[in-house]
Symmetry: C3
Subunit: 113 residues, 3 copies
């Protein structure tokens, strides 16, 4: 099945703590921007900032959505996020259980409220 | 190296608890449907079900396999899983350490029992 | 935006324990081979080795870098790693917040020391 028939991506997002991850993950589902979000706590981020290598406790949020909803999702994450330049990228899905992919597509197609 | 020479995918699967994740992850390796599975405990899932936003504790299972074994792997996950519509999708791998990719391909090529 | 304008990949690496994951994750950032690494502790790996199914505690390390830096990153991981055949593969990124992708590209372009 070619990609254009499987318009699903997994967005990989990071947040500063569990509260922020839950708040963003819940908002995306409530607003129909993602069918489901998976929050992985206890992540340690290592990065360069202003020349120094820094380390911070963060969380990973995986948001499952239609590919054509990704830009709206990313804009919403930036609006909700405490960081100036949050991590929000799309990992493509190239195959999957058909009923599951249909569920993702149907639950992330339009606003729910 | 083009994708057709790197026939490896990482399947992203969720399970309802650690026991289910271990049971499915072990079965996939025992049956030669995956070379390796990585189980990430402590995930929180947020999703819409029958109109309401629900939250549940789950686990993530990453299964490393040949792309041409994915459909068999997904069918086996559905048979072993407690959910009617489990999450099982393929994330493509576009590059990798050659000996590691060869190991994945050789260990997920044929049934072991 | 087509893929050739988004030369970012997320490398999926596993390490034998938290110390090894932090050591490799920090080295990749210090050496300009990745802009950022995300360490997920507490992973359980299930795999076949010499015919038997084994289980081990490991950690996952996600390294965010330019696609054209992946081969150098993978070679460095192999040099730093305690395993003979470590897991290091590239998951493609097909979309993302533009300022974040620019940050990844600028921080993983050249050696820092």
């Amino acid at each position: 099945m070619p990609d254009q028939d499987l318009p699903v991506v997994f967005a990989y997002i990071t947040a500063g703590n569990l509260e922020e991850g839950e708040r963003i993950g819940r908002a995306l589902v409530e607003e129909g921007l993602a069918a489901c979000t998976n929050l992985l706590p206890g992540m340690r981020s290592i990065y360069r900032w202003k020349g120094a290598v820094e380390q911070a406790e963060e969380v990973v949020l995986i948001a499952k959505t239609r590919a054509d909803r990704f830009d709206s999702l990313a804009a919403r994450v930036r609006a909700l996020h405490s960081y100036d330049t949050p991590c929000v990228v799309a990992l493509p899905v190239t195959a999957g259980s058909a009923p599951y992919l249909r569920w993702i597509a149907s639950e992330s197609t339009q606003p729910h409220d």
